[in-house]
């Protein structure tokens, strides 16, 4: 395997810097964002590299669990931050976090115990990357679905209420929107599976091949990971849409948009 040195990374960084320069000349207003994001990449990845290195030295369930919990909490916060219409109180953060926890944790643990069977099953070399990949993709699906749901219910509040008036249950009244939200949460993964290998070479597989694994072994792992991601993102999406819809109605089947935060005049 060919090891990268600082010179290689520096050259790549120069490319990003020149992109920043060009965007500045074009007045795109995103130069600082590019630079800050690039800097974050460096710092965050170096940190996780160090953490993983330490973790591999001391294989301990407690440490793995701690990292996993931090990952879930950050993902929950990230989901909450991406919403245009947020739930009031702890619900926004809580729903995202809980659905991430259910989907990603269950799928990751199932994969580790039943499929990968490392020794011990929670070995960080397998546990952390698997969980990270499942979670990163579930996060996209869950936040898309949640955003679509709150947006759709807000937009169609009059139609929903018309159905409630006629004696439909909350679940019936919001059925179309729930389906749309669930679909939009699963779309990215369906696209990724359909395009895999033809349009795009998935990053994980590419990484393994670059690191010297046999392509066929890398492909097998990639298939496994894709399926896990799809299941995790899919079930997480279903959970969050279900719970989120329920939260927007009360026990007397009233539409309760007051449980969403107002977003000011230009939000419509």
């Amino acid at each position: 395997m060919i090891l990268l040195d600082a010179w290689d990374l520096g050259l790549a960084a120069l490319l990003v810097l020149s992109l920043g320069f060009v965007s500045w000349r074009l007045r795109l207003g995103i130069t600082s964002q590019i630079l800050i994001a690039a800097l974050r990449t460096v710092i965050q990845l170096l940190l996780i590299g160090l953490i993983l290195k330490t973790l591999f030295g001391h294989v301990d369930l407690l440490w793995v669990a701690l990292i996993a919990v931090i990952m879930v909490l950050v993902a929950g916060r990230e989901i909450h931050a991406r919403q245009t219409r947020r739930f009031r109180g702890w619900w926004g953060f809580g729903m995202g976090t809980v659905s991430m926890f259910i989907s990603s944790f269950v799928v990751a643990i199932l994969a580790l115990v039943v499929l990968v069977q490392a020794d011990p099953w929670y070995h960080p070399r397998y546990a952390i990357p698997l969980l990270g990949m499942i979670m990163g993709n579930s996060m996209t699906g869950v936040s898309l679905a949640m955003d679509r749901l709150t947006h759709g219910i807000w937009q169609q509040r009059s139609q929903i209420e018309a159905r409630l008036i006629l004696g439909h249950s909350w679940n019936q009244a919001a059925e179309q929107i729930q389906r749309e939200a669930m679909r939009s949460g699963m779309m990215p993964m369906i696209n990724a599976m359909a395009a895999a290998g033809i349009v795009s070479l998935p990053g994980m597989m590419t990484g393994q091949i670059l690191a010297g694994s046999s392509p066929v072994e890398a492909v097998k792992y990639q298939i496994l990971v894709m399926f896990l991601i799809t299941a995790g993102a899919g079930f997480g999406t279903l959970a969050v849409v279900r719970v989120g819809t329920g939260r927007l109605f009360d026990d007397r089947h009233r539409l309760r948009l007051d449980r969403l935060k107002n977003i000011g005049q230009n939000g419509n």
Binding site: Q159, I160, A162, I165, L166, G167, D251, H253, R254, L255
Partner: protein
């Protein structure tokens, strides 16, 4: 606001009884089928008119002076008056025991107003239903009401039996 509260659409205080049923004994959807609320503006969740009706509505449609094939049309191509009459029919299909009508004939021409009033009256007699009818038209109130209640700035001002 009063009609919305009776239909249990906003959180509210107070007890309501309809026949033998206390409101809280029934599930909210069952209650709303019993206490049928017709808002001033009706909304539609499907493009096709007929998708909003549980039963064949062609008979009631013609009795309100609408063309029978209106059920196969697209909602967005209908006039406000046509939608208002269709909303009334849509509501009556639930067979509510209490009708909560908010200006049900506001955007209709005199001939259609008469037909709508007749349909509501006929329904009331056949089903033994009660009707709470909100209207700003004094002449209409004189025609249809058995008792009147005038509400100004949240206060009941006057109540009389006709």
């Amino acid at each position: 606001m009063l009609l919305r509260a009776i239909a249990d659409l906003d959180p509210n205080l107070g007890e309501i009884k309809l026949g033998d049923h206390q409101r809280e004994e029934l599930s909210a959807p069952d209650w709303r089928k019993l206490a049928g609320y017709l808002p001033a503006e009706a909304f539609w969740w499907d493009d096709l008119v007929s998708a909003h009706f549980q039963f064949d509505a062609s008979e009631q449609v013609t009795s309100l002076g609408l063309p029978a094939n209106i059920l196969d049309r697209q909602i967005y191509r209908l006039s406000t008056g046509e939608r208002q009459r269709l909303a009334l029919i849509r509501l009556l299909q639930n067979k509510p025991a209490l009708l909560l009508l908010d200006e049900p004939t506001a955007s209709l021409d005199p001939a259609s107003v008469e037909k709508s009033e007749a349909l509501i009256n006929q329904y009331r007699q056949e089903q033994g239903a009660s009707v709470i009818w909100v209207s700003h038209d004094q002449q209409q109130l004189a025609r249809i009401a058995h008792s009147k209640m005038r509400i100004e700035e949240g206060m009941v001002l006057m109540k009389d039996q006709a």
